[in-house]
């Protein structure tokens, strides 16, 4: 009995139960979200603007604190372990200009490991590795705000990869990218081993990357299941403001 309990704790990366959240101005952004994601799963989060996708992602590392339970790798998220949880969940914002706040690319990628108190060698190693993983080696000394959007988005991902998270939560990583940058980013995401929850409007990409799709609308999860099955349900997608082609 005990053994199975431990197994579920490790196998479940994210477990959210009845999560509700209202913004200070009274907008109810989440109205009771239940979601369980197994370790290693790749999940697409789709839904119209204002559905609550970003709000949900911001809950995964405690940036926003709503009512309800959130367990990350078996640990109930609370005020005390928030910083611990943040080493597990790599959250990447939609706008890389929000994510990148340091003067150089390298500083930004090294911020997480430095904050963790790792040794100099370890920080250097992790930053280099992270930049290599996203294919941005050699840009260390560049100023982030002078790079192309595609480059910025990759570097934003590198800034959390350097923290060796087990879960990646990416908010609209494909928005405003041109087709070739999108394809490159798609290839990158395919190579990453982490558990992934990715919000996107890009239905065609979902098919290639994510076996499971969660549809949100108006603060609720309205569909959750096999990507092919959900994408085949045009009536469902149309009701929630999405297009297949």
């Amino acid at each position: 009995m005990r053994a199975t309990k431990v197994r579920t704790a490790v196998d479940t990366a994210i477990r959210i139960a009845n999560l509700r959240f209202a913004y200070p101005d009274g907008v109810q952004a989440l109205r009771g979200v239940d979601l369980t994601i197994a370790a290693g799963e790749k999940v697409a989060l789709v839904g119209p603007n204002g559905a609550g996708k970003t709000t949900l992602l911001l809950h995964l590392n405690g940036t926003l604190r709503g009512k309800g339970d959130i367990r990350i790798m078996g640990h109930l998220l609370n005020g005390g372990n928030m910083k611990r949880v943040r080493s597990q969940v790599g959250l990447v914002f939609e706008n890389p200009d929000d994510q990148l706040f340091s003067p150089t690319v390298f500083d930004d990628v090294a911020f997480g490991p430095l904050y963790m108190g790792l040794s100099r060698e370890e920080v250097l190693k992790r930053a280099r590795l992270a930049l290599e993983e996203v294919g941005m080696t050699g840009l260390d000394e560049r100023l982030p705000h002078h790079l192309s959007l595609g480059q910025k988005k990759r570097i934003a991902i590198a800034t959390v990869l350097s923290m060796s998270p087990t879960i990646l939560a990416l908010d609209e990583p494909f928005s405003s990218l041109d087709p070739s940058a999108r394809r490159e980013l798609m290839n990158l995401l395919q190579t990453l081993p982490q558990t992934m929850i990715v919000s996107t409007h890009h239905i065609p990409l979902i098919r290639h990357l994510f076996p499971r799709t969660v549809v949100m609308d108006d603060g609720c999860i309205v569909a959750d299941g096999d990507t092919e099955a959900i994408l085949a349900d045009t009536a469902l997608l149309e009701t929630h403001g999405l297009e297949v082609s």
């Binding site: 200070p24 101005d25 590392n61 940036t63 910083k83 611990r84 949880v85 943040r86 080493s87 959250l91 914002f93 706008n95 200009d97 929000d98 994510q99 990148l100 706040f101 340091s102 003067p103 500083d107 911020f111 997480g112 430095l114 904050y115 963790m116 108190g117 790792l118 705000h145 800034t159 959390v160 923290m163």
Partner: protein, 263 residues
Amino acid sequence: MSIGARLIERYEAGSSVVHSTDGRLKLLLTVAYVFTVTLTPVGHWIAFGLLAAPLAVAVAASRLPVLLILRRSALALPFIVVAVPLLFTKEGDALFTLPPFGWTASEEGLLAVLTILTKSWLSVVAVILLTATTPAVELLRAMRALAVPRILVATVSFMYRYLFVIAEEAQRLLRARDCRSAELEDRKCGGGVRWRAGILGHMVGSLFVRSYERGERVYAAMQARGYDGEVRFLEDRPWRLAGIVVAIALALYLVGVEIYARY
């Protein structure tokens, strides 16, 4: 509305007489009030009492929480720091001597400090009342109607418009930093104070660069819509007689107090 926006926004919605008074009158009266308070002679407590009375009535009429006004009036506190040296530098009857330095406080000095505090506090409360009962847009309109130089009005209006944008940008930067401020189980985290201060410094710098670049973009967008250095506005509302009568009465009262205090 984000937390940043709530920190900056000074207007408190309401429907009191003070709220509905013409913004131009409120602005004029506030400026007149601050001038009168400033011109009142040192240590004339009766005059300060007479000046505080209409302010107290206005605060009560505005139906704003007194606690809110008191909290915001803490803005006057830094004046203490500026005023305190006067206690020791002003010549006069000795009150006490500060042992380690041998500085002597004078009675005249104390009077000066208390006067400065009273004046700054009364002025700050008056301005708080103005900003809490008048929407910023209305204040800008009032400045324009009262022939404040247009370039100044335009500057203030841009500041008001983009302060929120920049505050939110700052908030997002801080959020991004916090998201990556993680701890590991077995080691000391957070880096040194110097390192953290450096990070914050870089963030302020990048915020400045972004604001500057945004300024360029906004200017380009304005030019694209025909901006030629002159900001044009629609005509103003008519003046209402009742408001003018009350304003003149208050102005006369202020002048009366000042004459009484001086002669």
